[in-house]
C-alpha cells in the first residue's frame, strides 16, 4: 500500500510544486528538500502516478465527432436563414425598448399638438346670422370650464361662493370668451331686476329643480356653461317673475319690461402703430369702467394690414369716460353710430370737447390763484365747461337718461403690413415645426415598429428555444 507520507508541512508545497504553481524561491526550496528527502520524493512520485491514473481513466471518455456534429447541427437549426442577417439579441432588445419609448413619446407629443391646437391664443368668437355671439354649450366632460378657465371637475367641486369668485376672476378673453362675456353682461343686471324669481331655479344649471335659497347671482352663475341651462333660466324668468320676459336669444335688448335700455352700434375705427396692443388697451379700459368685451379678434396675415377689433358694452354712466379713454388710443378714422357715419360730427365734437376741457383746465389754474369768492365763480364756470364737454359727447352718442348700456365696437388698424415676425407668426411657425417634427417622429416610430414586428417573433422564438 502506497500511502502519501511526505514530511510534515511539506504536502501543500509538494502539491503546488507538482502543479507548477510555486514562486521561484519556493520552487528552489522544494527542489533542495527533494534532493535530501526520500519520503518526499516518493510522495511526489505518487502524486504524478495518481495524476496519470486519473488522466488515463478518462482517456477514452470522448464525445468524438458525433458530439461535435450534434452540437453544430443544433446550432445550425437555431441559426435559421433569417437569423443569418439579424443583429445581436441585445441590439434587438434595445430596438424593441426604444420603439416602445419612442411610440409613447410621440403619442404624448401628438396629443400635446392636438390639444394645443384647440387653444390658440387668438380666437374670433363665433357669431350667428344676427351678429350675436353664439351661445355654445360648454362641455362638462372633464374639459376646461369656459367661464372660469379651470377644469370642470374642479369647478363642480366648488361651493357657490367660490364658483362666483372664480367666475368673476377669470380673465382670459382670448381663449373662450363668448360665454364669459355673455354672462358678465348678465351679471350687470342689478339684483332688484331679477328679484322677482326667488325660488325654482337650479343653481347648478343641470336641471330645473327647486332651490328656494338661490340668490340671483347664484342663479345666473348656476346656469353658466349650459345652453340648456340658459333656456331653463329663461323659463324660470317667465314662470316665476312678473317681469320675466328675459330671452337670451334676443339679447340685443334684455327684454325685461322697464329693464335695461341700451344705445348700441357705436363703431370706431382707429389708425394705430400696434393694432393688438391698442385693442388690448381698449379691453382694459372697458373693464376698468365696469363694461365687458363680447368678442376680440386679431389678424396679421402676411400681406395684409394688421387688424384688431373688439366689441363690447359699457354702462351708460361710464360710457363718456370709457369711450374718451379709448378715443385716445389712436387716430380716429371713423365713427358710426347706429349705422350713420358721424365721423365729421365726432371730430367737431371732439374739438368742442377738447376746447371746453382746455377752458376748464385754464379755469382750474386760475381758480387756484384767485381769491375765494372769485375762485368759487371760476369753479362754477369750470364745472359748466366740463358738463358742456360731457354733454357734447353724450349728444353725439345719442345717450338718453334711459340708456344704461352702450354697445360699441372698435377697430384698430396699422397703416402698413408688419415686416418683423410677430408673436402670432412665431407661434404659428413653432406649431407647424412641431407638427412636422411629430410627423417625422411618427414615421420613424412606424418604421421601427415595423422592424420590431418583423424581428420580434424571431427573437421570441429564439428566446423560447433557449429557455428549453
Amino acid at each position: 500500500m502506497k500511502k502519501f507520507t511526505p514530511c510534515p508541512d511539506w504536502s501543500e508545497l509538494l502539491s503546488a510544486y507538482q502543479d507548477d504553481a510555486l514562486a521561484i524561491d519556493d520552487r528552489e526550496r522544494v527542489e533542495e528538500h527533494l534532493g535530501a528527502c526520500a519520503a518526499c520524493r516518493q510522495a511526489l512520485t505518487l502524486l504524478d502516478e495518481d495524476r496519470s491514473r486519473l488522466e488515463g481513466a478518462y482517456a477514452h471518455a470522448t464525445g468524438g465527432t458525433a458530439l461535435r456534429n450534434r452540437v453544430l447541427e443544433e446550432l445550425r437549426m437555431e441559426n435559421t436563414p433569417s437569423s443569418q442577417i439579424t443583429l445581436p439579441a441585445s441590439w434587438l432588445r434595445w430596438l424593441v425598448g426604444f420603439t416602445g419609448v419612442t411610440a409613447l413619446a410621440s403619442l404624448a407629443l401628438i396629443s400635446f399638438l392636438l390639444v394645443g391646437n384647440t387653444r390658440t391664443p387668438m380666437t374670433i368668437v363665433p357669431v350667428d346670422g344676427n351678429g350675436q355671439v353664439v351661445l355654445d354649450s360648454v362641455d362638462d366632460s372633464g374639459k376646461i370650464n369656459a367661464q372660469t378657465g379651470i377644469p370642470h371637475n374642479v369647478y363642480n367641486g366648488l361651493d357657490a361662493a367660490e364658483r362666483s369668485r372664480q367666475y368673476l376672476a377669470y380673465d382670459a378673453p382670448a381663449k373662450v370668451p363668448a360665454m364669459v362675456y355673455m354672462n358678465r353682461r348678465d351679471l350687470i343686471l342689478p339684483p332688484e331686476r331679477v328679484s322677482g324669481f326667488s325660488g325654482n331655479l337650479d343653481t347648478h344649471g343641470r336641471s330645473p329643480v327647486a332651490s328656494p335659497n338661490a340668490s340671483w347671482e347664484d342663479a345666473l352663475l348656476g346656469y353658466v356653461g349650459s345652453k340648456k341651462g340658459f333656456f331653463h333660466a329663461s323659463d324660470a324668468f317667465q314662470n316665476n317673475s312678473a317681469n320675466a320676459t328675459y330671452d337670451f336669444r334676443m339679447n340685443r335688448n334684455y327684454g325685461i319690461p322697464g329693464g335695461i335700455q341700451m344705445a348700441y352700434d357705436v363703431d370706431y375705427a382707429f389708425l394705430v402703430k400696434n393694432a393688438l396692443q391698442g385693442a388690448r388697451k381698449a379691453q382694459q379700459i372697458v373693464r376698468e369702467h365696469g363694461g365687458f368685451i363680447i368678442d376680440f379678434a386679431f389678424n396679421s396675415d402676411e400681406g395684409t394690414l394688421p387688424y384688431a377689433s373688439i366689441r363690447g358694452k359699457v354702462p351708460a354712466d361710464q360710457a363718456d369716460k370709457a369711450l374718451s379713454a379709448i378715443e385716445k388710443l389712436g387716430q380716429v378714422r371713423g365713427l358710426t353710430i347706429d349705422g350713420e357715419d358721424l365721423t365729421e360730427q365726432f371730430k367737431q365734437q371732439i374739438d368742442e370737447a377738447n376746447k371746453q376741457k382746455e377752458h376748464a383746465e385754464k379755469l382750474e389754474k386760475l381758480e387756484n390763484r384767485s381769491r375765494p369768492r372769485v375762485a368759487k365763480n371760476i369753479e362754477q364756470e369750470r364745472l359748466r365747461a366740463e358738463q358742456r364737454a360731457a354733454a357734447a359727447k353724450r349728444a353725439l352718442l345719442g345717450l338718453q337718461a334711459k340708456h344704461e348700456l352702450v354697445e360699441f365696437s372698435a377697430s384698430f388698424i396699422e397703416d402698413k403690413p408688419r415686416e418683423r415676425l410677430h408673436f402670432g407668426q412665431v407661434y404659428a411657425m413653432t406649431v407647424a415645426s412641431l407638427k412636422l417634427l411629430g410627423l417625422v417622429l411618427v414615421g420613424v416610430v412606424l418604421l421601427l415598429a415595423l422592424i420590431g414586428i418583423i424581428a420580434s417573433p424571431w427573437w421570441l422564438w429564439k428566446y423560447l428555444r433557449r429557455k428549453e
Binding site: M1, K2, K3, F4, S11, E12, S15, A16, D19, A21, L46, L47, D50, R51, R53, L54, E55, G56, A57, Y58, A59, A61, T62, G63, G64, L67, R68, R70, V71, L72, E74, L75, R76, E78, N79, Q84, P88, S90, R466
Partner: protein
C-alpha cells in the same frame, strides 16, 4: 496552422460556425473527461458536454477573456454536472453501477475501475481535481470557479490529492497490489 482560442472565438462571434467546430474539437475530450469524472457515467457526461457547448455558443458574448475559455467552459459544465447529480441522486447506488466489473477484472492493475472509484470522492474534490488534472486550469482560474482565494484553492487542491491518494491506496490494498 492551429489557431489560438482568441482567434477562434473572434471568428465564432463573427458568425463562423465552422470555427466553433474547431473549438469543440479542441475541448470536447477534456470536457467529456471532466464530466465523466464529475457524474460518473459516460452517456450523461456526453449529454452534459453537448449542452455545455450549446449554452456556451449562445452566451459567447458573456466571455470577457477569450484566452480563458477553457475555464469558462468548465464553469458551465460544472453547473450542468451539478444539475445532473441532483437529478439522479440516490437513484443508482455505487454497487449497482460498477462494483462487479471492478472485482472481476482479469489484470490486477486493471481491476480498479478508477472512474467508479473516483465517484466516491466528495464532489468538491472531484471538481478541483478535474479542473487541475483534466482541464489544466491554474490556481487563479480554479479559485474563480469555486469562489475561493488562490491560497485557499492551493490547500483545497492539496487535500483533494491526498484524499485521491488515500482512496487509491485503499483500493490497491483491497485488490492486493
Amino acid at each position: 496552422m492551429p489557431k489560438s482560442d482568441e482567434e477562434i472565438v473572434r471568428r465564432v462571434r463573427e458568425g463562423d460556425l465552422h470555427a466553433y467546430g474547431q473549438l469543440i474539437d479542441r475541448y470536447q475530450q477534456r470536457l467529456t473527461a471532466a464530466a465523466r469524472h464529475l457524474v460518473g457515467d459516460l452517456e450523461t457526461a456526453r449529454d452534459i458536454v453537448q449542452e455545455t457547448f450549446i449554452e456556451a455558443y449562445r452566451h459567447l458574448d458573456g466571455l470577457r477573456d477569450a484566452a480563458r475559455i477553457g475555464g469558462w467552459l468548465y464553469g458551465i459544465l460544472r453547473h450542468r454536472a451539478h444539475a445532473a447529480l441532483v437529478r439522479r441522486r440516490s437513484t443508482v447506488s455505487w454497487e449497482e453501477e460498477g462494483a462487479a466489473e471492478w472485482f472481476t477484472a482479469p489484470d490486477p492493475g486493471e481491476r480498479i475501475d478508477v472512474p467508479e472509484l473516483l465517484s466516491r470522492l466528495p464532489v468538491a474534490d472531484r471538481e478541483v481535481l478535474a479542473a487541475r488534472y483534466l482541464l489544466e486550469l491554474d490556481y487563479d482560474e480554479i479559485a474563480r470557479l469555486i469562489g475561493a482565494t488562490p491560497q485557499n484553492t492551493r490547500v483545497r487542491v492539496c487535500r483533494a490529492k491526498e484524499r485521491l491518494r488515500a482512496l487509491l491506496a485503499r483500493a490497491e490494498e483491497e485488490v492486493g497490489l
